[in-house]
């Protein structure tokens, strides 16, 4: 074991334990870490946006390549700032409507294709028992139908319709259970990442892979 002599590693460890101290109770160290991270991420974003986006995508094209038409979207973007000025906030709507309208128009055919048509096509499975997948395919086909029936709230869930919707609930419970079971791994992984940082980078413990 060999403690790191890199001061940045010590800073990382300090902030790691500052955040972990919240598990005991809220305290000034945690609040400090909270506000430090907000500030650092704002500063980081400013530098990256300026060097990776503003310079190559606006400054160079406009002032070195003569693409003055890009001043129009620049004005539209700046109009969004007027949202915080109550008297002129309505001007921001022009920029927002331009972007939202285009985004919505683009989304309609694309989400129809990716999320609806392709998924419906994939549900049309071979339901015969000739393949080993037969019973699984039937479960999938029935499962998709009953879940869709459950989410159809325009008709009251009574009688046969209500009974079918109840089967949909069972499928949803299994689905949510599977998601929860998988989610546990996700949460644990995040702490494992910090443990590895402390053990390897800070304490210098060589862990066999």
């Amino acid at each position: 074991m060999q403690l790191s002599i890199n001061p940045w590693v010590w800073i990382g460890v300090f902030f790691t334990f500052s955040v972990l101290s919240f598990l005991y109770k809220d305290n000034p160290f945690y609040k400090l870490a909270e506000h430090v991270t907000v500030g650092v991420s704002i500063g980081y974003g400013a530098v990256i946006i300026y060097s990776n986006s503003f310079l190559p995508r606006f400054y160079d094209p406009v002032f070195h390549q003569g693409r003055f038409e890009l001043i129009i979207p620049a004005i539209l973007g700046l109009m969004m700032i007027l949202r915080i000025v109550p008297k002129y906030s309505w001007l921001s709507r022009y920029a927002i409507c331009f972007s939202v309208g285009a985004g919505s128009g683009m989304a309609i055919p694309r989400s129809m294709q990716a999320s609806v048509l392709r998924q419906l096509e994939a549900t049309m499975l071979d339901l015969s028992f000739s393949s080993g997948q037969g019973i699984n395919n039937i479960i999938i086909f029935v499962g998709v139908l009953v879940v869709l029936i459950y989410f159809f709230f325009s008709k009251e869930h009574k009688g046969v319709f209500g009974g079918v919707a109840k089967i949909g609930i069972w499928f949803l419970m299994i689905g949510f259970g599977a998601t929860f079971g998988y989610t546990v791994m996700a949460r644990l992984s995040l702490f494992i990442g910090r443990v590895l940082f402390i053990l390897q980078e800070f304490l210098g413990i060589g862990l066999a892979g």
Partner: protein
């Protein structure tokens, strides 16, 4: 009303219609129009992001000015943002610079640890809150436990019945079946609903029925 409401709604409608139709038109004019929009959208995004920075400095500046509770932390937030930006602009962004070290050992450390707190909360919730209150809740918990065991190497090892009857699936196999059959069916049903919902919301926005994105006021 005309300039504040009708014209913005008309812009939304025209843009939505144009881009909805553009997807199906392979003509060169349609392609050039689409390319032109992509360049404009990047520039709009760059300048619109200025709003985020103005909001940040405004919010924390007000807290300092009014000496709101915990206002010194706002001072720290503003100071850190300026320090980070200064080092980034002056020194650069290569490995080993103050900018990248602050990113790696401050931002990544804090953000990573904040989300790692969830590991503890899920453990606490597992003991205190996850109850089999009904038959369906029991099915949910059972599916969760099987998937949990099926997703770790230990699940394969503790499936003792597989050694006696190899044709029986291990926890890994059962978990895989749960994920690829009933879970998949449920998620597809939900996904179809979500996909249709996205389409409907987009249509409502284009047609001017949904206007919440414009903000309040006349």
């Amino acid at each position: 009303m005309l300039w504040k409401k009708q014209i913005p709604l008309a812009i939304t409608f025209i843009m939505g219609l144009l881009f909805g139709i553009q997807y199906f038109v392979p003509h060169r004019i349609s392609e050039n129009f689409f390319q032109g929009y992509l360049d404009w959208a990047v520039v709009i995004g760059i300048f619109a992001s200025v709003l985020a920075y103005i909001s940040f400095y405004r919010a924390h500046g007000m807290r300092i000015k009014k000496k709101a509770p915990a206002w010194p932390y706002s001072l720290i937030a503003i100071a850190m943002s300026l320090i980070m930006a200064l080092f980034g602009f002056i020194q650069g962004r290569e490995e080993g610079t103050v900018f990248m070290n602050m990113f790696t050992y401050v931002l990544v450390a804090i953000e990573g640890t904040m989300f790692s707190l969830l590991a503890f909360y899920i453990a606490s919730a597992a003991y205190r809150a996850f109850r089999a209150r009904s038959v369906q809740a029991t099915a949910l918990l059972l599916a969760a436990v099987i998937v949990m065991l099926g997703r770790v190497p230990l699940g394969e090892s503790i499936s003792f019945w597989h050694k006696i009857w190899p044709s029986l699936p291990t926890f890994t196999g059962i978990a895989n079946w749960i994920l690829t059959v009933p879970n998949m069916a449920a998620k597809r049903g939900m996904g179809l609903g979500i996909g249709l919902g996205i389409m409907m919301l987009s249509l409502k926005i284009v047609l001017g029925i949904e206007r919440s994105y414009m903000g309040s006021g006349d």
